[in-house]
Symmetry: C2
Subunit: 152 residues, 2 copies
Amino acid sequence: MLLSKSCVYGLRATLYLASKKGDQFMPIRQLSDRLEISFHFLTKILQQLTSRGLLESYKGPNGGVRLTRSGRNISLMEIVMAIDGDDMLTECALGLPGCGVMKPCPIHEKWAEIRESIKQMLESTTLAELAKKGKDFDLRITAEGGFNDLLS
Amino acid sequence: MLLSKSCVYGLRATLYLASKKGDQFMPIRQLSDRLEISFHFLTKILQQLTSRGLLESYKGPNGGVRLTRSGRNISLMEIVMAIDGDDMLTECALGLPGCGVMKPCPIHEKWAEIRESIKQMLESTTLAELAKKGKDFDLRITAEGGFNDLLS
DNA sequence: TATATTTAAGAATAAAGAGTCTTTAAACTT
DNA sequence: AAGTTTAAAGACTCTTTATTCTTAAATATA
């Protein structure tokens, strides 16, 4: 897989948060129930996003997590970087260390192009954009349920 | 990682085989030494390629592996499919089962484009082409060594 | 026939990723 | 103050991937 499961779950969760109106904190339990992701696992993932400043959290009753001001208009890239790091965008297709224009492997150029297109896509796509699209067309965000099922 | 380590090793090994002239069998031990890959691990990987008809093997003295006639002009895609399968080209970016035009997730279209470009690249790039390029420009096929170091 | 060389096959081990559980700390409610 | 709700932190377990080890089978050579 290009993205780790942690990363995929992180994207689903932040996408869901981005689709909610207002700036209420949402309990992770509620997120994990609705998105059908293990609560403890999701907690761990969201902690990473919190420590990176993409989410903010609040303990106690009416607590939970929400996107920070800067987190609201972020690209998918920032989520991916926060969870998976930049390996995907730097690794050589043949696994050679330090592969680059100076010391390329035979696939380097073609691979670099692919990586560039992935990078462009992740950088130019925002959570907000996808969340709007998800709501407008009631697209899926879980195996069964669409965005609008979950907004109730 | 987009490709598993097994797959990357499989690519390195077949690329090396494709760069050799003649149709001699090359012992896996020699391949593993030169490519700096564990012998037993590489053996297992190459067995998969043999059973798929991309390589043929011969036991005993002067035995080893070599590309089959059909294996000589294959694309990278065939190696990748033989080792990693098609998950990479079918999986949803949000991990949703059955994601597609009928029941898309919000990233589906953009993701499908990326996958398509990966597919195009893997299908249109041949081992022979990369091997030639590797030799012509003495590019790297191990951490330290170029193609021409190994052809001695 | 005996021995060396080589792939094949599968068991065993190690490492990494995924997922669970328990305890602690913060914040609220009564 | 006591109890409840919530995130934080870390230990622990399970699963998958990666890697190593062992034995068997095929082939060649002497």
